[in-house]
Amino acid sequence: MGMPAVAIEADDLGLTFAPASAAPTVALETVSCRFEPGRVTALIGPSGCGKSTLLQIVRGFLDPTRGQLRFVEPADGRMAIRPAMSTVWQAFNLFPWLTVVENVAFGLDLAGVPRAERDERAHRAIAAVDLTGFEDRYPRQLSGGMRQRVGLARALVMEPEVLLLDEPFGALDAQTRLVLQEQLARLVETSGTTAILVTHSIEEAILLADTIVVMTARPGRVAARIDVELPRPRSMATTRDPGFAALFDRIYGLLRDEVMRAMVSGGASA
């Protein structure tokens, strides 16, 4: 945040797990796409298309077996160093033995940020996700929606240049999802961070993203790249915009074909 952001380029990126004792598994076929700095890109596609794998490669937790991942200066295309990244997880992954504020301050503590600054930043992040007053609760004392807001605060407090959202609302009920989607849309709009959102929800992708990358099922490739021109700030009211409906239909059309194909080929291989 505040720093000149870098673009992330996936160039023919692919990953095949080849264990010695079993047949190789293609986790990601060949994907080329670009994540623009300061913008939200949604990756949407059928299960098994490798969108979470792509996210893990971008994060640096998985190494691609094909192609290249590059970080480049948007102005002149020069190579840049890996930007600071934080992830929000579908399963929340909060530390159950730490309180809300200790969870949020965990990364700052690891980085050796002095206590006063750590507390100040943690409390600010907790306030940003409307959890003030719950600092000393333990995760098990919170609802699913509140837990994921802690997860969001824990990622945002690190002031990442790139925010990775791995199906962040996948484990939540529909109503909680709606509220959190609006909240996340607002946070992302104000922070100006680069974000990559992996999701199954077309609605979520349209509400949050500037660009939607639709991926195909096995082999995982990019089927379409769609810019979302709807005005911001977006909220539930946006879903009644005719532009929203048109986009929704277009993405649904692409995905339906892909899901059908995935079901057929998945059934054949299984």
Partner: protein, 272 residues
């Protein structure tokens, strides 16, 4: 609200108090009360039957023996010596066992090596090591420390490994994402995850340490509760035998209750 029938003032009246019933529902009252009752019956039976105190001393005689032994007989020293032997070896086992467990959990090679040693040594009754340890270490402090250590270390190592293996891999990923290095992951994620399991290992280990130290004292000790117990038995001081047994039982109660208290405070470590 207007449709709500007026609530009769029956609900406002407190249910009739039943003090006798609630007293008998209190587990503390039941627990201690039954012990007192058993002692009274014992006292009565021993007194009325006229059985020799050599076989069955009365509780009142045992209490007198206990007070005498504490007052002038050096039982305090014996208790302190035994506690020191138990907890010195146990503390060493806790530190080394936890570290070893973490190492085994995070290193494939260490695990392969340690698996064989644990499989060979864990089921071995540790009392069978007493003769060998005496040959190597004599019967002094190092021997007692080793025997207590050996009693506690296996359950602690095994439970640490078990606890770490049950750690949610998502938590390790989350910690890596927040910038944790390998050592920080061990200390800040794997170790806390394993704490309930490590504690279960400590419970088991401490029990074995107590048994082994008292048994070793009975065999070779000149001081300590076990030595005192054995000696009293040899000279048919039955009151003293009972007195030492009471001290050992009291030690057991204190240790168990302390562990229960720690267990209760571990609730934050449990995921949902």
């Amino acid at each position: 609200m207007t449709e709500t029938p007026p609530i009769s003032n029956k609900t406002a009246v407190a249910p009739p108090a039943r003090p006798t019933r609630s007293l008998l529902d209190d587990p503390n009252v039941l627990g201690w009360g039954s012990i007192v009752l058993a002692l009274l019956i014992w006292e009565l039976v021993a007194w009325l039957s006229g059985v020799s105190a050599l076989y069955l001393p009365r509780p009142s005689q045992i209490v007198v023996a206990l007070i005498t032994m504490f007052g002038s007989g050096g039982l305090v020293v014996d208790l302190a010596v035994t506690l020191w032997r138990i907890f010195a070896g146990f503390a060493l086992a806790l530190v080394l066992g936890t570290l070893l467990g973490l190492w085994i959990s995070t290193s494939f090679r260490t695990r392969a090596v340690a698996d064989m040693f644990i499989a060979a040594l864990y089921p071995l009754p540790k009392v069978t090591l007493i003769p060998l340890l005496i040959i190597w270490l004599g019967t002094g402090g190092p021997f007692m420390l080793t025997i207590s250590f050996l009693g506690a270390i296996f359950p602690i190592v095994i439970n640490t490994v078990l606890g770490v293996s049950q750690c949610d891999p998502g938590l390790v990923l989350a910690a890596r994402d927040l910038g944790a290095n390998r050592q920080q992951i061990m200390r800040r994620v794997l170790l806390p995850s394993a704490i309930p399991s490590i504690f279960a290992g400590m419970r088991l280990g401490l029990g074995v340490s107590i048994i082994l130290v008292v048994a070793a004292e009975m065999v070779v000790g000149k001081t300590g509760l076990g030595a005192r117990l054995y000696l009293a038995g040899q000279i048919l001081e039955t009151e003293q035998v009972f007195a030492v047994l009471i001290v050992l039982a009291a030690l057991g109660i204190v240790v168990t209750k302390l562990q229960d208290a720690v267990d209760a405070s571990l609730s934050n470590w449990r995921t949902d």
